[in-house]
């Protein structure tokens, strides 16, 4: 049972933090609490430090951040503010002196940064975690401590990806490492690496085998200061249309010697490590970009309702209510998968791929709907409120990696579909209910426990369970009856998928055709619905809006529409109730996710 609303706790802490300075908040190495309340407290302190995003005089406000973006430079003042808070400790497991305990808490703690500026979030910080993940998953004791020490000192790590299928600029090209008498020799060039010029540590996924297949790559941990002169060339900065302030540039290695001790894990572990680490990165990205979309929704509500106005009329009602429901659904998916990384680490990979496939697309579509609400104001670049839309439209494809990003998720989903249809769907037990309860305790995230295939499908089982519990309400009038009907419709879709996925080829190139990709797409919509239902069922009534069926009905209707499941007309009052909550939150300065924390002090 939740004893007090996070909203109240957050407000209190926000006020407390107002009188605190950055330097005194998080001395590196301070042991941290492990609870959601502690993460909310850290977020509240960050909120207070970053200040009112809409205050034009605030050096960390949206106006200043968007101006830096327009100048294509990182916001220096805000970066140094974040450095002062010891933000790097968020990326270091608590056992190594950092504050990283659980992925869901990490996301909560970092949302204040991302809701202001996705590029700042990536450029300042989260990239370090994405890079360090391989070390948390497979590094030896010395590597783990070295990376921990560096990040706790405020150092930065970057990731040098290997090339994936249908690679875009960020994923294109890769490095090769050949064994020598004393270690390895690194060669190759990659043009678009975030923070390549300023990272203190490079995590390289390099090709070590000539044969194709799952053992082709290995991971190396490099200290750029150790590279002999002439072996590394820094290539010019590359300006991407999105994340304009982030510093992307290239690196070229020519016979760079790499000591044997730089290898992370075993030779040939690279692809497996990428799969293990990517599931955390994917889940974290989804939780964070959802917060950024909340800022655009806020701008749209302010525009439609006229500041602290009371109502929205006409054609703006449906997109505002719909996108709010989408954000709640995206947060439900994100929070469930982030919690699964702790609770069901051997099985979270499947849902992580599904969530990362759905969420960026859902948000992208939502941004387009919000553009219709903002109308001409969306062109008002000078105003911070309306620049948020433009900026996120630009930044989101870079954060989500576009087609190559979704294809890499499909590569995880597609090979598993047939086995799931044959053995898992309609056969497995439901996951523990603690998966869905935002305030439930969880074990710490341990990268070493993460699986990369197999383990069944706890979300499909959860959907079937939710629908069965709602079955009594089927056919009843009103939102609850509609919710029961929608839950059943998704179960029907899962049944149809079972029949079709059973007919897929077991493996091989035949799997890589459009038919399997279409099935994978529909599948992700089904498990997205499962997350919404699971989160709705887990409400204890503390928040009457989330405990009510309206938001879930609207979110599921929209998810159903996405995958072509027939959608009945919305019951009367559903849109009104969701819109009413949206306006209430806007007036009260609360966030547009499941936590509804108070934003501005």
């Amino acid at each position: 049972m939740r004893t007090r609303r996070p909203v109240d706790a957050t407000r209190e802490l926000t006020n407390a933090a107002m009188t605190t300075t950055a330097e005194t908040i998080h001395p590196p190495g301070t042991p941290s609490g492990r609870t959601a309340a502690d993460a909310f407290a850290r977020a509240a302190r960050l909120e207070a430090l970053l200040g009112d995003p809409y205050d034009p005089a605030n050096p960390h406000g949206l106006r200043a951040l968007f101006a830096a973006d327009a100048r294509r430079v990182p916001p220096a003042e805000t970066e140094s503010l974040l450095a002062g808070t010891g933000l790097g400790a968020e990326f270091v497991p608590a056992v190594h002196g950092g504050r990283l305990t659980r992925a869901d808490l990490l996301v909560r703690a970092l949302r204040p940064v991302f809701r202001r500026d996705v590029a700042l979030g990536f450029g300042y910080g989260i990239t370090s975690l994405f890079a360090a993940g391989a070390v948390w998953a497979a590094g030896d004791a010395r590597q783990r401590q070295d990376v921990a020490d560096l990040l706790l000192r405020g150092g930065r790590a970057t990731i040098l990806h290997h090339e994936l299928a249908h690679a875009n600029a960020i994923l294109r090209h890769e490095f090769s490492a050949r064994a020598t008498a004393r270690g390895y020799r690194l060669d190759g060039r990659k043009d678009v690496i975030i923070n390549a010029a300023r990272a203190d540590l490079q995590v390289v996924y390099a090709r070590t085998g000539t044969a194709r297949g799952p053992r082709s790559h290995s991971v190396f941990l490099l200290d750029p200061r150790c590279a002999p002169p002439g072996s590394v060339r820094h290539l010019p900065r590359v300006e991407l249309p999105g994340m304009r302030g982030a510093l992307f540039s290239g690196l070229e290695f020519t016979g760079a010697p790499v000591p044997a001790g730089a290898l992370v894990g075993g030779t040939g572990d690279g692809v497996g490590l990428a799969l293990r680490v990517f599931q955390v990165n994917r889940s974290v990205i989804c939780g964070l970009v959802t917060a950024a979309a909340g800022t655009v929704l806020d701008a749209a509500v302010r525009s439609a309702a006229g500041g602290r106005g009371a109502t929205v009329t006409g054609r703006r009602r449906a997109p505002l209510a719909g996108v709010f429901a989408d954000l709640l659904a995206a947060d439900a998916m994100s929070m469930v998968v982030l919690r699964a990384l702790s609770l069901l680490p051997d099985r979270a990979h499947l849902f992580a791929a599904a969530v990362k496939y759905v969420v960026p697309d859902l948000l992208r579509e939502g941004l387009q709907e919000l553009a219709t609400v903002l109308g001409a104001r969306g062109f008002d670049h000078a105003g911070p409120e309306h620049g948020a839309l433009d900026k996120l439209v630009r930044d989101l494809p870079v954060a989500g990696l576009g087609h190559a990003g979704s294809a890499s998720c499909q590569a995880v989903l597609v090979p598993q579909l047939r086995g799931l249809a044959e053995r898992s769907w309609f056969a497995e037990d439901e996951p523990p209910s603690g998966l869905f309860r935002a305030d439930g305790e969880l074990p710490d995230l341990d990268y070493r426990l993460l699986g990369i295939a197999g383990g069944g499908d706890f979300m499909a089982a959860s959907l079937v369970g939710s629908a069965a519990r709602l079955a009594g309400a089927r056919g009843a009038p009103g939102a609850r009856g509609a919710l029961a009907g929608l839950a059943e419709a998704f179960v029907t879709e899962l049944r149809a998928l079972r029949e079709q996925c059973r007919r897929l080829p077991a493996s091989g190139t035949a799997l890589a055709g459009p038919a399997a990709l279409v099935l994978a797409d529909r599948y992700t919509g089904v498990v997205a619905a499962a997350a919404v239902l699971g989160v709705w069922e887990s409400q204890d009534g503390t928040d009457p809006f989330l405990a009510g069926p309206a938001w879930a009905v609207l979110a599921l209707s929209r998810l159903a529409g996405r995958i072509g499941v027939p959608v009945p007309t919305l019951p009367a009052g559903v849109q009104e109730e969701v819109l009413g909550e949206l306006l209430r939150r806007q007036r009260a300065g609360l966030g547009y996710d499941l936590d509804a924390v108070a934003h501005t002090p």
Binding site: H162, L164, A165, H166, A167, N168, A169, R172, R212, P214, S216, L240, P241, V271, G272, A274, L275, P319, G322, E365, Q368, A371, T372, G375, A376, F379, R394, P397, V398, G402, H403, S406, A407, S408, Q410, A411, V412, V414, P415, Q416, G419, R423, G451, I452, A453, G454, T509, L511, A512, G513, P514, A515, L517, V518, A520, D521, R522, G561, R562, G564
Partner: protein, 276 residues
Amino acid sequence: MTTPVPTGAGRIGAPFHVSGPDAPWHRVRAAMDRHGTAVVHTTWGEWLAAVVAEPALRPLLGRDWQRYRRTADPTVRYRFVASRLVTKYTAAAALHTEPVELDLAYRTGGRPYLRGLDQIDVSLTHTDDLIAVGISRVGRIGVDAEPAGRRMSYELLGRTVLTPAERAALEPLADAERAAAMLRLWTLKEAYTKALGQGLRLGFDEFGFDADGSGLAAPDGRPVRRDAWTFATYRVLGRYVLSVARHDAGLDSSPDTAAHTMLDEGFMDAVGELLP
């Protein structure tokens, strides 16, 4: 047959005619290689034989089959099915697959997309007997066509369709010139909002174009820097105005858009290896 009107044309590539299911579809792949975009046009009559004779029409139409069956008016019905076939054949050419393999689905705002295959974006328009389809691998695309002879009433529609700056620019023009300019702006705005996915839900008086129709402008005429967008208007078949809006998401997406190469082999194998 195809006359490019103004700027943007070089970057998008001229629309070309496809004469039915047996059209030389390699031209789609060539245009995609060169521009990242392909725009084709045809008339529905050219597809009539295929529609009537196609034994696999039901699987080919997929979820659109019901709508096809429900449509009573034969002209509407055949035009509908022809437009879906053109879309699928065009997309299939770029994806190196068969049209019947594709699931043409629709977003909330009605914009079509290819389920599971986000390497290309598609847009579809039809007017009278013309059907045009645009596909792009660099970002969103929108196409819109109108008969060149359509007279839009400046007096009746000017205030809802044009921004103050556009009205000021069109005001001094002679009737015929003004009608042509208005039609071009209309198709550009349609194409842009279709690329955004919202059709007519974006107010047309809330955004505008500069004088030559190559860039976006605010309602007061100030140019809006949107380097990522390219616009072009063409006259096709001598009697239609066809506008294209294309967004470049800037990720320098892979020139390979084939469906069967998009799943990373390393990932597939690593996952497959661990499965029972």
